[in-house]
Symmetry: C2
Subunit: 398 residues, 2 copies
Amino acid sequence: MLPFSLKEYKKRLDQTKKSMQEKGIEVLIVTNPSNMNYLSGFNCWSFYVDQMLVVMVDEDQPIWIGRQMDANAAKATTWLYHENIIPYPEDYVQSKTKHPSEFAAQILTQIGQSNRSIGIEMNSYFFSIKSYECLKRNLPNATFSDASLLVNYVRIIKSDQEIEYMKKAAKIVEIGMQTAVNSIQEGVRECDAVGDIYRDLVRGTDDFGGDYPAIVPMLPSGRNTSTPHITWTDRKYTNNQMVIIEIAGCHQRYHAPLARTVSLGMPSEEALDVSKVVVEGLNAALDVVKPGVTCEEIEFAWSKIISQHGLVKESRVGYSVGLSYPPDWGEHTASIRKGDLTVLEPNMTFHLIPGLWFEDYGIEISETFRVTETGCEVLTNFPRELIIKDDTISTLII
Amino acid sequence: MLPFSLKEYKKRLDQTKKSMQEKGIEVLIVTNPSNMNYLSGFNCWSFYVDQMLVVMVDEDQPIWIGRQMDANAAKATTWLYHENIIPYPEDYVQSKTKHPSEFAAQILTQIGQSNRSIGIEMNSYFFSIKSYECLKRNLPNATFSDASLLVNYVRIIKSDQEIEYMKKAAKIVEIGMQTAVNSIQEGVRECDAVGDIYRDLVRGTDDFGGDYPAIVPMLPSGRNTSTPHITWTDRKYTNNQMVIIEIAGCHQRYHAPLARTVSLGMPSEEALDVSKVVVEGLNAALDVVKPGVTCEEIEFAWSKIISQHGLVKESRVGYSVGLSYPPDWGEHTASIRKGDLTVLEPNMTFHLIPGLWFEDYGIEISETFRVTETGCEVLTNFPRELIIKDDTISTLII
């Protein structure tokens, strides 16, 4: 029941080994759960304990090292031979006297890898300083180097099957966004609206289910639109508020994020004007997307429009997106911002999320897109505008 | 709108400083989001980028260093003076040329902390090897030591207000568990059942809302009960399956986890017997809880019962629980297992989760409890038994 063909996994592994060779890395220790999944299929909420995939440049298969309790999950979800799944005993878990890296070092020694050039994902959330120090102590003859983002960069161009999953995720986020628009209204608690959204993101469609997005729904409202990563409360929505909704559909761990802004009650003329500038800038940015263009050129197209209106945005306006686990659905490779010279290629995928924030409100309108052979395909399909819910006019129901 | 009194935050900070002094640490860099929240109130889904709370042993207030975009959230959610909230510019985020640790080192230097004894949470998910190496490089005159779990151990005894939030979380998980029992049935997709559960965990009660639990609902069914951390699919439940449900209610980031097992159709006599052993063992374990008892003594009480029935469980049967962020609701301090000599004190809180797994099914039944002055208070209130849903008898509706 693998989500991809064995051929696709082998291709990913070959590309990873090629990159390892270019960097002089003989053994790569993969601890980013997205990268573990990408190379092996491993899919399990077990990343809060030490686990790793060991890719050796001259071996056909990686080995999985993880907790005893999760070994069956590795057998069930990966394409690895069962003898390549090597669990450490349960008493290593959060122990004061033993560390899983001691176990990993023993295994690496037993299989003749203890004196090699070892690459470590030094920016991984799930391989701690302590784990690294312990591994180094127990492998004194190995040399270590930083292999941060090595596999992430292999992931940057998607296969057709990956795009297929992202399109399913896009269908799911469209449902979730419609639920958000329907649920958010005066007198409704934020937690009740998010409850509805979560239900629908997880249910998915009748044809395929939803998976957990790597980030919880973000719905800053009113003045809180200037604090974009604060999560919901049990306060009630009031009229004459702006609510930004940033959510993602997820299928087979592939994400399609989408942001929209809802105005409860008629917005001010200024806010309406700003929303039109955001849409104009978003459209201008999407218009320049095609193979050969750089990431910063997309940002320039956006900046040019907003600067014509006397506006500035400092933060990046997008990032590469796809396979992910909490706490972030971004891939941490290319960003759509000044100075990022990543050249677009077909089947790169991005979340383009321009926004503008002011003293007491903000407007965000985003899309997830794919670079095609000749231009840009927007995966998410939802009216690209400020959504106005006002009792005095008929509420927008799509 | 702080969830705790200023007095409580100051007390936590004082206890932290006391522990720092005992360990010879002058400056503590706190990057575990639960610990940042505990000391300052900071509550934001921003832990996927570098951020820290700097506690200086001789300063009244910590300083917050984080991303520009999240500085308003720090102002909105913490008790810190605004001048102690120091953001780094947006172009440090996931940059190839700049690192937030360079910025942090500059600040530490400017405020005279560059030649001190600095404690680092070396097992934090959210302070990477790369962040640490960069900080060390930029603070060559500082000495560094491991301060893993320093604040976690301050957190191990809860205040009355913390217990109050855990009781609210317990009310929420009871609702979520009832929804799970109602939704899980033959022909229903796993994702639809989880959608319902998520909605109700987030909605909470009419009086107070739910927050996002640090772990997604876990609902292994059938043979998958031997792979406890695999998440849901869009497969349909079939009759004659066991489904384990492990979820938590969350309020103000405080958790009350709860596990139950549902049998779809009449269970085998063996499974019914095993469920009775699990309940007997759970009760025996709860019976020994009181101040002065050690964690391993709780485990012994459980083991004694199951060994009388010829059964063995290798992994720990519980852990300290409370305030948390993804990816884990455990506090990583005390575990209920052989060898853990932590002595129970009033207002320690644990998730006691014994379970037994066999070839093709497993039984888990858990409770969240608090140590009282004289014994044990179970916070979660749900029938402590195997829940049987069978069309031929009347379905259990509580």
